[in-house]
């Protein structure tokens, strides 16, 4: 089983099952964690804002202009900020740690 580590807004880390081909948003949402993802994953809001473990951040596909401009609606944007709906899980991301950004 491949897994994703998710740190919630209280600092607790959960290990959740992650399937290749799903987006990180879908994986986090379907695990019942508190991610709003208002637009359902079409990069039209910024309510699936996460911080990605800096060690692995560089290995992710880079942000496109859509994602970068949606991050303008997020708060506390950091260099390792991403929208979880724009990242697809694959085996290379096994054990990746992401943190839910403040709402």
């Amino acid at each position: 089983m491949t897994k994703l580590l998710v740190k919630d807004r209280n600092g607790n880390i959960s290990e959740i099952k992650a399937e290749t081909g799903s987006t990180l948003m879908e994986i986090i949402r379907d695990a019942g964690m508190d991610i709003e993802a208002a637009c359902g994953g079409c990069c039209a809001c910024a309510t699936c804002h996460i911080y990605v473990d800096e060690k692995l951040y560089k290995s992710l596909p880079s942000k496109d202009e859509d994602e970068e401009s949606m991050l303008d609606q997020a708060f506390e944007v950091k260099p390792n900020s991403r929208l979880a709906c724009q990242l697809e899980f694959n085996d290379d991301l096994e054990g990746l740690l992401v943190e839910l950004a403040p709402e």
Partner: protein, 337 residues
């Protein structure tokens, strides 16, 4: 004066709009209330240009095209829209309900259809400690009367159309600083070039950064700390105008005594009626076993809901099921000659 209609639909998104059609075929008159300034809900506000691929018989359609076509489809029924307001309260009367909106409009109806999607769109608020006491006083998410901002020091935050439009507009009467996390803006290119021109002429100031802290100081001004990379700076202003888009909130609906399941309204799957008779919920806002949050599910729910509404609106009449393809009566309603 109280307006009178058969049915009020709360929410003018795709499902609320299609409900007008299904109700219209059954001679049921409709008013719609929506907190946005236009029809279309999330489709129009969040992702108008994004294509949708799972609308039956429409292999590809943008969200705005879907809304435009729905408006065309319901035009024969001439629904009444009440925009920029939400339904604040509902009161049961013998003949049905009286609704009151945030703009103090009262509407009497027999049935209420909640098609509110993920809730009302409201401005996204800055998640900063202590900001609540300043909101609507010194921190403004919308501007009703810009004269209060005349000759004041103003900080506008954001990089979208609202931020840039207000920067360009208020530059004429106030001392404006615009703050945004990066040098690029998602606002319309025209507004961006206008803003850059104003900055060149020193009519506005642009700062890079994100707001961290806000305090009201002893001079009755706002002290705002903002961070850019590792540097923290501060600015003193009279007003802060944050524009970080909209978010969705269930709002007053939560207080109407309906059975809720994690902010969704429980309904049956025969009539899509809530725990309170004559109040229905359709589209993304409802829940039932097997619910899928798809626009097409909402369309189906609209059709079944309308059948039950007919019984409430015309208790003495029999509803004879008709097809739009063959019924002359329906053709007449649809304006087909």
């Amino acid at each position: 004066m109280i307006k009178k209609t058969d049915v009020v639909i709360i929410g003018a998104g795709p499902v609320g709009l299609f409900a007008v059609f299904e109700l219209g075929l059954l001679n049921i008159n409709v008013h719609l209330v929506d907190n946005l300034d236009k029809p279309g809900g999330q489709c129009a506000e969040l992702y108008p240009e994004k294509p949708i691929y799972d609308i039956p018989a429409r292999p590809k359609i943008t969200a705005q095209e879907l809304i435009d076509d729905l408006l065309k489809q319901i035009d024969p029924f001439k629904p009444t829209f009440h925009f920029n307001q939400q339904v604040n309260s509902i009161k049961k009367i013998e003949e049905g309900w009286i609704l009151e909106t945030s703009e103090k409009i009262k509407i009497e109806c027999k049935c209420i259809i909640i098609a509110a999607g993920a809730g009302s769109f409201v401005p996204r608020k800055l998640p900063i400690e202590g900001i609540e006491s300043l909101e609507n006083k010194r921190v403004l998410y919308s501007i009703k009367d810009k004269s209060i901002l005349q000759d004041k020091d103003i900080l506008i935050a954001g990089g979208g159309d609202s931020a840039l439009d207000w920067t360009n507009e208020l530059a004429k009467i106030s001392n404006v600083t615009l703050i945004h996390r990066r040098k690029e803006f998602r606002a319309a290119p025209d507004s961006v070039s206008k803003m850059i021109e104003l900055e060149k002429q020193n009519k506005i100031i642009f700062e890079l950064g994100q707001i961290k802290e806000i305090y009201k100081n002893s001079k009755d001004k706002l002290d705002i700390k903002y961070q850019n990379d590792d540097t923290i700076n501060s600015i003193e202003v009279d007003y802060l105008l944050p524009f970080f888009g909209l978010k969705m909130e269930l709002g007053p609906i939560a207080n109407w005594g309906l059975n809720l399941n994690e902010n969704l309204i429980s309904v049956d799957t025969e009539k899509f009626e809530t725990s309170i008779p004559t109040i229905f919920a359709i589209g993304d806002i409802n829940t039932y076993p097997g619910k899928l949050k798809l626009i097409l599910s909402g369309f189906h729910e609209s059709a079944l809901m309308a059948q039950q509404c007919f019984k409430y609106c015309f208790p003495d009449k029999k509803n004879i099921f008709k097809y739009t393809t063959s019924s002359k009566e329906l053709h007449k309603k649809l304006g087909i000659k």
